[in-house]
């Protein structure tokens, strides 16, 4: 029962933290972040475009499933070709799995042929906490008006098994296809699956 007592204590501490929220149907919180080339990006600068946020950790088996199969790179290429801003976000704290320096991230992207618009380095976890990103991967889509329209998993196969990529229904592609076709998004939220984001705190 010590466990419960501890939880109550932690709960009391958590109450004083701000209630960050990025909710589907509501305005997505604006942010400022720096990419692996030292360039600053804000969400507001991309008003008028669709923006995808992809939480990343290159050591996580669930992320490796997507990158080793080439699936994530394919999605990045396909959707950026269609004018979507694709931002990979790395919120691993220094010393934690997935943490990379700018040079390491650039070398990694070259090695795996990753082609996001940019890779945002978020070692303090500020952007991760702003969106309450839970896992790698955890995917968000923001529409041209700045509204959050998708929050959840990359697909419907919550397993690191590489064979699952071929049979997966990709929620990000589905949502973008539907919304660009003027249709309602059939799956606007799902449980993000994967490794926990390796925050400092």
């Amino acid at each position: 029962m010590k466990k419960i007592a501890l939880w109550v204590l932690l709960a009391a501490v958590a109450l004083v933290l701000p209630a960050w929220a990025a909710r589907v149907g509501e305005k997505a919180p604006d942010f400022t972040a720096t990419d692996s080339h030292g360039v600053t990006h804000t969400l507001s600068q991309y008003a008028g475009k669709y923006v995808v946020l992809e939480w990343h950790n290159n050591g996580c088996p669930y992320v490796r499933k997507q990158y080793n199969s080439g699936n994530m790179q394919k999605l990045q290429r396909e959707w950026t070709d269609r004018g979507v801003i694709w931002l990979t976000v790395i919120s691993s704290a220094p010393g934690m799995q997935g943490y990379v320096t700018a040079d390491e991230e650039n070398a990694y992207m070259k090695q795996v042929n990753a082609v996001p618009t940019a890779a945002l380095l978020d070692p303090t976890g500020k952007l991760g906490h702003l969106y309450d990103a839970k896992t790698s991967p955890h995917m968000f889509i923001i529409d041209p008006s700045g509204t959050l329209i998708y929050d959840g998993a990359i697909d419907d196969q919550p397993t690191p098994d590489p064979a699952s990529v071929a049979v997966a229904k990709n929620y990000v592609s589905q949502a973008l296809t539907e919304v660009m076709g003027g249709k309602p998004i059939s799956v606007p939220t799902s449980r993000p699956y994967g490794c926990s984001v390796k925050y400092a705190d």
Partner: protein, 272 residues
């Protein structure tokens, strides 16, 4: 109470040998075995088997709803003709993590019991070999997927089966397995703006924890506010940001201060 439970488990391990053929597979960061509660199978009589996971210190595996990250163990059976296996009966988990990512799982040795039903026509004197393909995710600060092929052989006998060397472990696990709420308890929930107020009428406890069985009903990382109220108890649970519409029922396991765990399915009403 947990300590007592694991003391039992450890005693059992020390004295066990009968049904385990060879040593358990050594996998990364955990050991897993397929065990039986009884020493034989009886035609037409259900029996209990279980996956016994022993994780390395500081590592964990996950509950049926893993929470914010992770993935529960899964099993695919290859059974003799006519044998059927039920679902894993998940013991109540522990909350793991204290920041913005909270998971549900097991950091201590845990038995995941599964009921197996031999057919009435199972041949006496034969040996029933149960084969399980098991996959899991084991995590500390990093996560490692694992898998094992496990087998368990049981003689098929007409006489009532005797307890196996693992019986005490199965008994200890049963005492911690979520059960239906007592007859005098009644659960209901009210959906307010950002939270559910779950009331258990008839229950008395000094504290309680709710483990959601359905993903993305509640915010796993948010505090759960407990209040003893007249004739019962109340928990205030923050809704998940990904919950777009109030569900018809709030489903979960309630662990109360006695250490007992109960399955709760509370109809959700909107405030008038």
């Amino acid at each position: 109470m947990l300590a007592a439970r694991f003391a039992i488990a450890c005693t059992v391990i020390a004295s066990a040998s009968a049904l385990v053929s060879g040593s358990p597979p050594e996998t990364e960061h955990l050991k897993v075995q397929l065990l039986s509660d009884s020493s034989s199978a009886t035609p037409g009589r259900p029996l209990w088997v279980g996956l016994y996971f022993e994780v390395e210190k500081q590592w964990h595996i996950y509950w049926t709803n893993p929470g914010d990250s992770g993935e529960p163990p899964r099993v695919t059976w290859n059974l003799p003709d006519g044998f059927q296996a039920g679902e894993i009966q998940w013991p109540a988990p522990a909350r793991l993590g204290s920041g913005s990512v909270v998971d549900y799982g097991y950091e201590e040795p845990v038995l995941l019991p599964i009921e197996v039903r031999p057919p009435a026509k199972a041949r006496l004197g034969s040996t029933a070999t149960l084969s399980a393909k098991v996959t899991w995710l084991v995590c500390r600060d990093i996560c490692v997927p694992g898998k094992a092929d496990l087998t368990l052989s049981l003689p098929v006998r007409a006489t009532p089966s005797l307890p196996s060397a693992w019986h005490a472990l199965f008994e200890a696990t049963r005492s911690h397995t979520p059960r239906p709420m007592p007859a005098g308890w009644k659960a209901n929930a009210v959906s307010e703006k950002d939270q559910f107020v779950l009331t258990i009428h008839g229950a008395s406890a000094t504290t309680a924890l709710f483990f959601p069985l359905v993903e993305d009903q509640i915010d796993n990382a948010a505090p759960q506010e407990f209040n003893a109220v007249k004739g019962g108890m109340r928990l205030t649970l923050k809704k998940s940001d990904r919950l777009l519409k109030a569900p018809e029922t709030l489903d979960g396991v309630l662990e109360v201060s006695s250490g007992r765990a109960y399955v709760v399915s509370a109809p959700v009403a909107s405030p008038r």
